[in-house]
Symmetry: C2
Subunit: 311 residues, 2 copies
Amino acid sequence: MAILVVGSVAFDTIETPSGRAERCLGGAATHFSLAASYFTDVRVIAVVGEDFTPEHEAVLTRRGIDTRGIEHTKGKSFFWSGSYLKNLNEAQTLNTELNVFQSFSPRIPAEYEDSEYLFLANIDPVLQEEVRRKMPKVKMVCGDTMNYWINDHAENLARVLKGLDGLLINDGEAKLMAKDGNLVRAAEKILSSGPKSLIVKHGEYGATAFFSERSFPSNGRVLHLPFRAPALPLAEVVDPTGAGDSFAGGFFGYLASQKELTPANFKKAMFYGGVMGSFAVERFGTDRLAQLDPKEIEERFALFRELSHLD
Amino acid sequence: MAILVVGSVAFDTIETPSGRAERCLGGAATHFSLAASYFTDVRVIAVVGEDFTPEHEAVLTRRGIDTRGIEHTKGKSFFWSGSYLKNLNEAQTLNTELNVFQSFSPRIPAEYEDSEYLFLANIDPVLQEEVRRKMPKVKMVCGDTMNYWINDHAENLARVLKGLDGLLINDGEAKLMAKDGNLVRAAEKILSSGPKSLIVKHGEYGATAFFSERSFPSNGRVLHLPFRAPALPLAEVVDPTGAGDSFAGGFFGYLASQKELTPANFKKAMFYGGVMGSFAVERFGTDRLAQLDPKEIEERFALFRELSHLD
């Protein structure tokens, strides 16, 4: 079933110990869409400027991603530049230019209205809420956020959190949001504020899902215990940008491709999230994610299972 | 089959966000022995001072641990004090007094000579090598070390590494030892220097085992892929002291209890390592580890499996 994702489609200039990439296609919605496109139909809501060419759009459409919700407007696309030279686990932001995103007001094409899955990628929670409100019939809503919104837009963010089936953030964001350095206590606090599940991404150490007491996933069967999915130990992380968004795309894409939201499917979705994240970091920008063979995905899924399962 | 362990039996004064413990029984060999004692026979080589009373020794002997190799001498036992107030993942050492360990020369009682498993806990690599040399017939040798020996005693340590079947250290130690911030490359470098396997402990994120090309574990079946074992997300870590030694005790204790060193047993041993580490941190000092019910261990093992296995 189709996923609608709202978020940034942008250009990134990135430096890492492996090299430098100038103005490569990026943005949370881009990485998310590409990762999810291997599992289900994806529809994007975003805004881009005149620097976004048909060649850029083709990176998405070649993967069957519906880009009719990408609004083209005057000016320049969202631009971010960052460096991982000091720390591969955390980007040092060198420059952020909101550009066309500054006055973005999401419009949802009629063709998108039957989307059953909604992903609110990391953008202003006011925009996240607006899109959520316009899609009242969706079956499942997941979302992401970041330090900036947690620190300075807490009230707006709180309203978004209440409506989420799953919040996907990283360790630091979870601890910041809960103001508690212990992950289990932080998870409890966040879950009590709204989301039915919390997926905390640990970078090279994988991810952990925590579940609220309100019986999620549903279908009579419940996961009260947390669930841990591994990450693949990699000898070279070329570019970590978009790893979290790709995790979200693999996770949500797999869930949307399944008939039922069962605990077993939720667990497999966590593994697929890790799989897509592991591909994303192998090349700069979208280079790896844009041209995967589905067979590679299944092989890597098998690898993830092998590296963490008892015989 | 019996494990011989050489290492510190000591007193620790510890402060953590959960409280403070004065001069509680500690030391790498203590935590290791207690954890391993739930799986197999354990024999300890260490030195203690006059402050080590029969009550302290009884903590070990009540678990069936053979303490005939603990030498009693004049002076005070090894003493360490540390604080986890700033960071629960890394102790800030406030004081270290080697005391009787300063002039320790390990002697191996005749009754210990048939031990088939040898664990070289974190002590001076010169002493580790000495014990290793005196036990030429052991079936398997694992060991631990720390930053101090890696930085300032690298040549002595290098000789110990050559003879190890397994080296158990944490992330920071592995990266320091290899002078490489990427764990996979660090592991390759360390394995090329001697150990047949490297078990890297990630604290709250579990542990990863890496294997050399020289076919380990043996028995015809080989693990080339790394293996990741989870850790239990805990809402309160009362005292992290000894968590790594307890991991090593659970890991090596389980291996020593099995007839064969198979990949399947190695993987289960990694899980049991995590299980014993998770108990160790629930109370100060040895309080939790000294009085576990074997049923609790099996229940927690099942929990570890549930929190990381696909259905």
